[in-house]
């Protein structure tokens, strides 16, 4: 049986939600450290603009659009879950996963093009940051999609519906990280 | 030693007890700061320990006596915490002020127009010293390069450019109270002015790999005459005509 501890809520907030927020707090500082390092370097190296020219703003913008839409479906999934409609929530979650997969597909194509043009992670420090930051973000997208698949499967059977919200919070975070990455890596020339 | 003021004598304390010599113009300032901190925090430390041990001895459990019920909100007791801790703040300010002065003198306000400029380069696991040579200019053909041996003239102001070729090193001369990390890709300028002649240790103060422990060098602080003859004896033979040309190979 499950410990009594897991069922208490002295703060009035569900324990799962608290935990997700703390996970995000620790994630924020990881990305924060990486991006702060990048920005400090970037300010000290105006010549990186020459490297940044070779990133493709259109692809980045398209992916931003994909992620934003997937966040929207995550919200809709949450709303459906609130109403107790697990089937619908699961359907929206599958759309979100579809967004994640699209994002990753586009990313793969983009990286493939860049690498074949000779811009690899070791080309210079701009590219090192580019691949590391985007790669770390992509790992989060993958992790998010996998967890979402599990949550969606349960939700479809009307189980663990509160998890729909939790994975949604996480997904917004993944989205927001990208909102920072996009201008920093693509737009700033 | 008698013509020194009291404060100056404080700065020379470690030298006098034979712990470490005062070898540069700012060494005594650092020692003064250290002793100031020693006294300030020392008094607090002794006081705290005294009260602490006093309480332990005085309030040992005795049959029939119960401890007092004190919450810490009582005004007359609480001020025993509040007042000391405001005083700690005041002493902090004192330390900060003196520390600023010393720090500025050593690291920020470099004396202008030094008598000579040196280049010091750390690499795994040796120090290379580039002395300006007879013409007094660095990066000319008469520069004297030495390994693990720095020759300077007493009572002269030097600037140095500290560089590294591979990993971090740190140039440290304890008798001068001089320490500065050397970073590959950068050139850091610092200064010193020796005040006593002799031969002193240089230690590498940043771990730099296998041979860090043997990355020892010596500084030779010489009087004007000895130094001049050292320079004369060590000027590269081919140097004199080509003076003025930059030496390649240094960054």
């Amino acid at each position: 049986m499950r410990p009594i501890a897991t069922t208490r809520a002295a703060t009035g907030i569900a324990t799962g939600k608290l935990a997700v927020w703390w996970v995000l707090a620790s994630e924020v500082v990881i990305f924060g450290g990486l991006l702060a390092s990048y920005v400090m370097h970037r300010l000290g190296h105006p010549e990186w603009a020459d490297a940044a020219i070779h990133t493709d703003v259109r692809i980045g913008a398209f992916n931003t659009f994909v992620l934003l839409s997937s966040s929207l479906t995550a919200v809709l999934a949450h709303q459906a879950a609130e109403r107790g409609d697990g089937k619908k929530a699961a359907r929206y979650l599958y759309w979100t996963i579809f967004g994640a997969v699209t994002f990753l597909g586009v990313k793969t194509f983009e990286w493939y093009t860049e690498i074949t043009h000779g811009y690899t992670i070791t080309s210079n420090t701009f590219w090192s940051f580019y691949y590391s930051a985007a790669g770390l973000h992509a790992l989060h997208v993958i992790a998010g999609a996998v967890i979402m698949a599990i949550v969606a499967r349960d939700a479809a059977r009307n189980r663990q519906l509160h998890r729909v919200e939790l994975i949604g919070i996480y997904w917004h975070f993944v989205d927001i990280v990208w909102i920072f990455l996009f201008p920093l890596l693509y737009i700033a020339k | 030693m008698n013509d020194m003021s009291f404060l100056e004598r404080v700065g020379h304390y470690f030298d006098e007890i034979g712990l470490i010599r005062i070898g540069s113009t700012y060494a005594a300032d650092i020692d003064f700061l250290i002793i100031l901190v020693l006294v300030v925090v020392g008094v607090w430390f002794l006081l705290a320990e005294y009260i602490f041990i006093h309480f332990i001895l005085k309030y040992r459990a005795k049959p029939g006596r119960k401890a007092d019920y004190i919450t810490g909100k009582e005004k007359h007791l609480k001020r025993w915490i509040t007042i000391p801790h405001l005083m700690v703040l005041a002493f902090d300010v004192l330390i900060v002020v003196v520390s600023f002065q010393v720090w500025h003198k050593i690291k920020m306000d470099l004396p202008e127009n030094p008598d000579a400029v040196l280049r010091i380069t750390g690499q795994q696991w040796a120090w290379t010293f580039q002395h300006p040579g007879v013409d007094g200019e660095l990066d000319t053909a008469d520069d004297i390069f030495t390994v693990d041996e720095l020759h300077v003239e007493n009572e002269k102001t030097y600037h140095f450019k500290l560089e590294a070729t591979d990993v971090l090193h740190s140039f440290s001369v304890p008798v001068w109270r001089l320490k500065q990390d050397a970073i590959p890709g950068r050139s850091i300028t610092g200064w010193f002015q020796p005040t006593i002649t002799g031969e002193f240790d240089v230690q590498c103060a940043e771990i730099c790999g296998f041979g860090h422990g043997v990355m020892a060098a010596r500084v030779m602080v010489e009087d004007a005459e000895t130094h001049a003859s050292w320079v004369a004896a060590n000027t590269p033979v081919a140097a004199a005509p080509a003076a003025g040309q930059a030496t390649p190979g240094t960054q």
């Binding site: - | 019920y69 919450t71 304890p174 990390d181």
Partner: protein, 579 residues
């Protein structure tokens, strides 16, 4: 990892608790019980302490008798010396101080002290230990791989740590980094559990300021850890890429910057010292209040002070880099913030001393350890002020003065604090009382040698001796005889101290086998862990009899009460003295 709320009122029968989950040895390996996980952390930490202590023994022998064949190890080469020092530091901090004080006692105490039957995420808790265990294997493996263990100091400054042509330990340095990274992940998972458990599963009636200080301290420490380790994790990824695939994040030749690592490291590194300090401070105040039969002097002040320390600790990191080539103006700012932190720290120390005032003090073994912690930590604390003043740090940086400073903080924390906690909660953990006489012998034979090790090292540091140098005979100024005598004094004292640990282990073994049975509350303390059996059963209390809290944990010697203690869960009598 998230489970829906279950109706509490159904009350599950006791047998459910006893018979579920895996049996036998697997029960211990796969248990989700917080007490079992605490033990796993503790014994791993104890084992690592012996390894870290053995390393100290080897390199101290080399320092006292350069070039000697160290019994049990052999000749120490310069590379081995560096590797020993590096891994001694790494292991003592990340595999001893953190797992024992934070993870073991955090796991053991938090549910018991807040009146819960387990952590809120028992499976995450188990995963945390499993990752930690893996990290232990990795760090131990890094010591024996080809090329030897990592030897670039626990701070791992690049370019040395980033490039195998410089550090000559291609495998060792990568495994070291991976090991430390895994360990961080383990503690992040553990931390989330600690924080949410305190927030959400407190016993009915327990308000924020009814929580024992040690729980607060561990939770604040977890938060500090969580908010500071991120940048270093990012840095660790960069360093790993530099090491393995040849990126140049920290390589000046390709536009990278070695100083960046130092900022990332110390942004974490300084809060980290408070991460290990706070749990020890918490343990100590529990013991002091119990054995002085006193209420904490100004409970709320302690909590607010701790939060202030936590916040300030994020703004002092560059005091480790005064002479590292940062902008000298930055040194001024960091001198101010560093000295500022002495204000709340002083406040905390004064509160501890004030708690003794008009108490009724019994000098039992745990109390001796706790008092020794305060006395010794003060030395470590005030010597930090010398280093915080940038002008003095020019001289002291990377000398044995720094070394002695932080051993006077770390040793009280990781060794004295641990022994305090261990001897205090031993009756609860194992159901037996420890032998007081042996305990006192062990105490004195640890404390006296400890001072005799590190006071000489202060003197050597003031004399200009630098750290991480395997043989001072290369430096004429340091090779003088009385300096060497000091080094030998330190080493001899260490030998005595190491020997004294056998008393401790013997005492543990003997007490566990044949000590007197411990009652529920042998120290007559107030907090909730003392209201259950010793050792507590699975689930801590009977599910129908979970504690309810009526008051704070420090109601000792309340006037007009017969007993000089007042357990948190004892309902106030009608007409009796109120709250």
């Amino acid at each position: 990892m998230v489970e829906p709320a279950v109706d509490l009122t159904h009350g599950h029968p006791h047998e459910d608790h006893a018979h579920h989950g895996p049996q036998g040895i697997m029960k211990y390996l796969w248990s989700t019980d917080h007490k079992v996980i605490a033990m796993q952390y503790m014994f791993t930490g104890m084992f690592m302490a012996l390894i870290g202590g053995f390393m100290a023994y080897v390199f101290r022998m080399q320092l006292a008798f350069p070039g000697m064949n160290v019994p049990g190890f052999g000749m120490v080469s310069p590379g081995e010396y560096n590797a020993l020092v590096t891994n001694h530091g790494t292991i003592m901090i990340f595999w001893v101080a953190m797992p024992v004080l934070l993870a073991a006692f955090g796991n053991y105490l938090i549910p018991l002290m807040v009146g819960a039957d387990d952590m809120v995420f028992p499976k995450v808790n188990r995963l945390s230990y499993q990752i930690f265990f893996l990290s232990t294997v990795v760090i131990l493996a890094s010591l024996v791989v080809e090329g030897g263990g990592f030897a670039g100091a626990w701070t791992a400054y690049p370019p040395l740590s980033a490039d195998e042509t410089y550090n000559l330990t291609p495998l060792g340095s990568t495994l070291w980094l991976v090991g430390v990274g895994l360990e961080f992940v383990a503690f992040l998972l553990g931390g989330i559990n600690f924080i949410t458990t305190l927030m959400n599963s407190r016993a009915p009636g327990m308000r924020a300021f009814d929580v024992p200080i040690v729980v607060w301290m561990i939770v604040v420490a977890s938060i500090l850890f969580m908010l500071s380790v991120g940048p270093l994790l990012a840095g660790a990824i960069m360093l790993l890429f530099d090491q393995t695939i040849g990126t140049g994040f920290f390589n000046p030749a390709t536009g990278g910057d070695p100083i960046l690592w130092q900022h990332l490291f110390w942004f974490f590194g300084h809060p980290e010292v408070y991460v290990v300090l706070l749990p020890a401070m918490g343990v100590v105040i529990e013991i002091i209040t119990t054995f002085a039969r006193k209420k904490v002097f100004a409970y709320r002040t302690v909590i607010f002070t701790v939060v202030a320390i936590g916040v300030l600790s994020f703004f002092v990191w560059a005091h480790h880099q005064f002479i590292a080539g940062i902008d000298p103006r930055m040194a001024n700012i960091f001198t101010i913030t560093t000295l500022l932190i002495s204000v709340p720290m002083a406040e905390l120390c004064f509160v501890y001393i004030a708690t003794l005032y008009r108490g009724s003090i019994t000098l039992s073994t745990p109390m001796l350890w706790a008092l020794a912690f305060v006395a010794e930590f003060l030395i470590g604390g005030v010597t930090g002020i010398f280093l915080g003043a940038a002008g003095a740090d020019v001289y002291f940086h990377d000398t044995y003065f720094v070394l002695a400073h932080f051993h006077y903080t770390f040793f009280p924390i990781a060794i004295i604090g641990t022994f305090a906690a261990f001897t205090y909660w031993f009756p609860k953990m194992f159901g037996k009382m420890m032998d007081e006489r042996l305990g006192k012998w062990h105490f004195w034979l640890t404390i006296i040698p400890f001072n005799m090790i590190f006071i000489p090292l202060f003197v050597l540091g003031m004399g200009g001796q630098h750290r991480r140098i395997y043989n001072y005979e290369h430096f004429p100024e340091l090779a003088i005889p009385w300096f060497q005598d000091m080094r030998q004094l330190a080493t001899y004292s260490l030998l005595i101290m190491l020997g004294a640990q056998f008393i401790f282990f013997y005492n543990c073994f003997k007490s566990w086998r044949s000590g007197a049975r411990a009652s529920r509350n042998p120290w007559k303390a107030n907090s909730l862990e003392w209201t259950t059996e010793s050792p507590p059963p699975h689930g801590n209390w009977h599910p129908d009899d979970m504690p309810v809290v009526y008051r704070g944990p420090y109601e000792y010697s309340v006037p007009d009460r017969e007993d000089d203690y007042w357990p948190q869960n004892e309902p106030a009598l009608k007409g009796g003295p109120g709250e």
